[in-house]
Symmetry: C2
Amino acid sequence: MELYLERGFEQTTVAEIANRAGLTERTFFRHFADKREVLFGGADALKQLLVGSVADAPDPVAPIEAIAKALEGAGALLQQRREMALQRQSVIDTNAMLQERELIKLASLASALADALRKRGVDDPAASLTAEAGIAVFKIAFARWINERDPAVLPEIIRKLFDDLKTVTAGGP
Amino acid sequence: MELYLERGFEQTTVAEIANRAGLTERTFFRHFADKREVLFGGADALKQLLVGSVADAPDPVAPIEAIAKALEGAGALLQQRREMALQRQSVIDTNAMLQERELIKLASLASALADALRKRGVDDPAASLTAEAGIAVFKIAFARWINERDPAVLPEIIRKLFDDLKTVTAGGP
């Protein structure tokens, strides 16, 4: 990550990353498929966290509440790693291919969340609508948090945006 | 499009496409930046249609209603080109890079719609939330329409999903 910030993502080689981390290139590739995965490796852990949280939600809970709780949990984790999240984002912002990868990871999170809701017996289209709406909230909350347009901590921004989403979808301003 | 279906997207060259269309390669590149743009060139027209529709919405209308009306209009247009939409989708489904491009185009539509709402005086986060939620509805509606999981015509599916979105975000099932 430091190297990406110092030299730019494009200019950094896997050999340099491995060297800085005190690893061989071979060991690097045991952990990461390519150098983009240094930035996106956390997405799988995030997915598991979210899916686990939806699966463990108490039984009589509205789907949107299960998704909101899961995303607030993820937000709390990211809040503890704000410095790293900021660095990561400033690397991603410099490179269109990384921004695309970010969109793909978000789409994949949405479909994992929809699956988790279906496993709880939520039908379609409610499952996919709730999951996609949740990821939309998360994406906007994350951007506000990164750009400090919102002084609150991430889980609070997420919670507030779920309330706002309810207002706007009901035809509010 | 025919060639992509016959031979696969990867295997089709620009020379072959130009030849089938009775164009020179040079003329092809005057119209399309690359062979992916044959599939995505329509996205700009769609964006203009949507943005124009939001701009022209009657003044005292809820943001979500302006977005829903715009997307229903786009849906009506796609409905008239269902055969082409089906062919296009079956090409995209075979190729991960094309699916990524589709996600990028959808993200870009969402931000254009958010801008259009801001121009109508809608503040953030309402503007971005409404736009992203609208694109989430559109994405799900389109998938249902393509896969014929839903026998209705596209504008009706879109309208119905906006109602469902209101229900789920309000904590309904």
